[in-house]
Subunit: 542 residues, 2 copies
């Protein structure tokens, strides 16, 4: 073989750097600490064990685990065999989990016994799964006809030198399901090439370095934990995997392991900051916030605790990162409010072409005011929804990926998401951002949480309705809420017709399985209501 | 078109980020300062002008210019047309330039009138060049049948909105010739995909950021100025182009433009530090040093001037960067000597697979001692020498690119280059590093410069010979030189048989056109000599 090596972009090559750099960094899960050579050894063993079960190019292996070193091993070993890693959202209902498993059709399932009840709920209807590898931190291996063995025992018996061969970089590496929009869950897939390129660009945009200590606070089943386990591995960072998200334990890990880099949605940040032991500062901790807009008060609370914050933007279909802001500590110019606005927005990663388009698919002016839909091209966007050509066509209309997010581009080039296409309130021919109304109403001292949705209106098309959680013992009523918006309208921040006639007080806002506010559900719940009512809702968590 | 955009990795996409980020950074050349939108406008115009001359996919356009904003425009516009940019080494002899031009066969030449004498020397023998665009900063456009126009006038008449279409990412983007080894110059080519991936990895390894002010000190005709013009453009850095390298002017630019990032070979660093005005510190300046080993005294002189130094390693065939060290300021642990050793070496960039192999193509132990040949795989290594299958086969023996460099890997994973395969002295069945002997001899206070070469010996195969430049008014003779090596041998640093019988004193060491010490020429000059002689050589510069 005396000709040039045709180098395919494969996930296995992300392991080259930490091994060559002989880093002393470790992969940490509970009491267990593994060096990178040990990680590589275990990936070899897992590849060997799966290979013996017949897993190869084109197959799928599903994983149901907490955030652990084993999940990281699956992130590598499964794609390195040429198979697709299916990361199963274990917070979905059994019916949804069953749908996702049967639709992706994994041959093997790697399942933590913590999710045995979920497995048992779907077991008899699984159409593709032939073998199950059980993760048992303690206790017996479940007695099931499909049981192939226990995870650690399987690795102990396998070959650490398993040879991972080269194959086409466009081979599918991952698949997971998004439930964020209407209809059945949709399967989103990514190739080796896409994940390698996403990793390189993400490292550049976030300035993650080998000196960082990384811990995810976005579950590993959720869009590759935003890609950071791949990025941290390529750099050879120490990585802390927190298992199940128990707030007090997360705080303890952040402190004891001196974590410097993490990422989460605002809801998780709130959970962490409210946990026992979270009062003292977290010095040197940087955090990427994404998933939804960061409320000002929560941002202030994080900054007070010494946490430096970046904004990030993306979605399941985009691997996920499209934009990232500078850290808030770098955005010192201007007022704190301005810094937070810029922080929320962020600018495109290298190689990302991002545009904001009006209803006729023309670029909106980059004036920070004119809203449009965010569309994108990048080398890491999902090419198709798995076996769903109709949804794929809508996703890629005009050759650009349609995010269904509404945003503006500021004169400094930063993007600000103003709403979801389906959440923006279309009233009297104009668009009102539900997020902007939420921000205004949320400034009332008596308001703990608020969501604004559009409800059908025969005259205006839609009208805004505010769903409010009051603070305990606060005295706040609908007129206070309307006054907040009326004052903002008088100041010219929103149009006068943004003042909501309807204000509903609830005990908690409905949330999706990943902790996002579930406006779809609210629209169902509140569309039938009329006038000003108080609705008592104890919990909406799925 | 309602299907996924197939995103090819093309050089044009490196322009997405600076334009989207609306950076206020500038491209500076002399009195002229261009914003990134102006750069993009000029790239469009240049593409339009070249397109009108018939340049398209598969063609080649050669450039002979000093380091300027125009050269940067050519770095983009030519490849963005699907044509290959030929960067001509204007320091070669007219015969070599003619060979390179006729071998690469450019259709169009873009030539600075500063190089008119060189053009006139080869004009009548150019077999492919149909049209010449002249760069005239002042004076008339040369009257030549091939003249197509003047550069600025051509741009003024062209279309800034020229549409650069997509094409295969494996399209050739650049070609240049390497004269570093024996025989005729060899053409080295790189594709769009290779250059984009090199850019991403280089930014990660060097931690270049958008806040940096960049200036090359490696000529733009030389291996894409190590790729940094692409990296700095992708990030949207301010970029300073220095024109011809006039030492006092370089110092002035480094200071006045507050340059934070540059790169050069040790010879250029020496030239800069010896220039008028170079005594005061260069605060905040980071510098990648490559091309040859950095002498300790020169390193100390740079550090004293406040310059932070990184080591880099690569070659023309590798785009060029394969390894990069941390900055010397980060390598604080241990003694200064240890820091410098680590700094010289460096670790592989992301996606680089680098191995050091013994004579039987087995990995040497990573003990920092055992030498072998450095071989590599990466997504940006030249696949072929242009129309030279024999050299290509030797380059890619066993499916790895053979650097012909001898090195060791330290226990911490860092590479140290100990010699060139052809420079290492093979004596009595052992290898002695010529660079190590040079380092030892160079520590003598009376030695200004030294090169050690292997000369044929009937008994031992080869024996080392030292070629020495003494400091003015220094009193140093051959016995002092031998004593330095003898002491090192007694300390166990080198074997006893490393003491050179032959020591030649010269006025200057032969250098190649890019300022490297020319051992090939020395072997020719000194192989015929015997015994201990003083040879007066005024200058070897090509």
């Amino acid at each position: 073989m005396n000709e040039a090596y045709q180098y395919p972009l494969l996930i296995k090559q992300l392991l080259l750097t930490p091994l060559a750099h002989k880093t002393r960094a470790e992969i940490v899960y509970g009491e267990r600490r593994f060096t990178y050579p040990e990680l590589r050894d275990r990936i070899g063993r897992l590849g060997s064990a799966l290979s013996r079960l017949g897993v190869g190019i084109g197959d799928t292996v599903a994983v149901m685990d907490v955030d652990s070193n084993r999940y990281l091993e699956c992130y590598f070993a499964v794609p390195m065999l040429g198979a697709a890693l299916q990361t199963v959202n274990i917070r979905l209902s059994p019916d949804q989990v069953l749908y996702c498993l049967n639709h992706a059709a994994p041959k093997v399932l790697i399942c933590n016994v913590a999710f045995l009840p979920l497995f048992e709920a779907v077991r008899d209807k699984l159409t593709s799964v032939k073998r199950v590898i059980w993760i048992c931190e303690s206790g017996p291996v479940p007695d099931d006809p499909r049981t192939a063995g226990e995870y650690e025992a399987s690795l102990a018996n396998a070959d650490p030198e398993h040879a991972f061969l080269d194959f086409d970089e466009n081979t599918r590496a991952t698949i997971f399901y998004t439930t964020g929009t209407t209809g059945l869950p949709k399967g989103v897939t990514f190739t080796h090439r896409q994940l390698v390129l996403h990793t390189l660009a993400e490292v550049i945009a976030t300035r993650l370095t080998a000196n960082d200590v990384y811990m995810p606070l976005t579950p590993m089943f959720h869009v590759h934990a935003w890609g950071f386990p791949y990025s941290a591995t390529m750099l050879g960072c120490t990585q802390i995997y927190p298992g199940q998200y128990v707030p007090a334990k997360l705080v303890e890990l952040l402190r004891n392991e001196r974590v410097t880099f993490t990422h989460c949605v605002p809801t998780v940040l709130q959970m962490v900051l409210g946990a026992p032991g979270a009062d003292a500062p977290f010095d040197g901790l940087r955090m990427v916030i994404g998933g939804s807009a960061l409320p000002r008060a929560l941002c202030d609370a994080a900054l007070e605790r010494g946490i430096d914050i970046y904004g990030g933007y993306g979605m399941s279909e985009t691997c996920p990162v499209l934009t990232c802001s500078r850290a808030i500590s770098e955005l010192a110019a201007g007022t704190a409010d301005e810094a937070i606005t810029r922080m929320k927005a962020g600018q495109p990663l290298p190689l990302v072409e991002m545009r904001v388009m009006d209803g006729d698919f023309r670029d909106v002016p980059h004036d920070g005011v004119t809203q449009g839909e965010v569309v994108a091209r990048a080398p890491w966007l999902t090419a198709t929804y798995h076996e769903n050509p109709e949804a794929t066509r809508a996703l890629w209309e005009n050759g650009y990926l349609h995010t269904q997010d509404i945003g503006v581009i500021h004169p400094d080039g930063s993007l600000q998401i103003t709403d979801r296409l389906k959440d923006v309130i279309k009233t009297g021919g104009e668009w009102i951002s539900s997020l902007e109304l939420e921000s205004i109403i949320g400034r009332h001292a008596g308001v703990a949480e608020v969501a604004v949705i559009g409800v059908p209106d025969s005259k205006w098309g839609e009208r805004p309705a505010a769903i409010v959680v009051a603070r305990p013992e606060a005295s706040v009523d609908a007129s206070h809420v309307r006054d907040m918006v009326r004052q903002a309208a008088e100041a010219g921040v929103v149009p006068k017709y943004a003042v909501p006639e309807r204000v509903h007080f609830v005990e908690a806002l409905p949330k999706t399985s990943v902790g996002k506010i579930d406006k779809k559900r609210m629209r169902v719940l509140f569309t039938a209501e009329t006038g000003e009512v108080d609705v008592a809702i104890t919990s909406f968590r799925a």
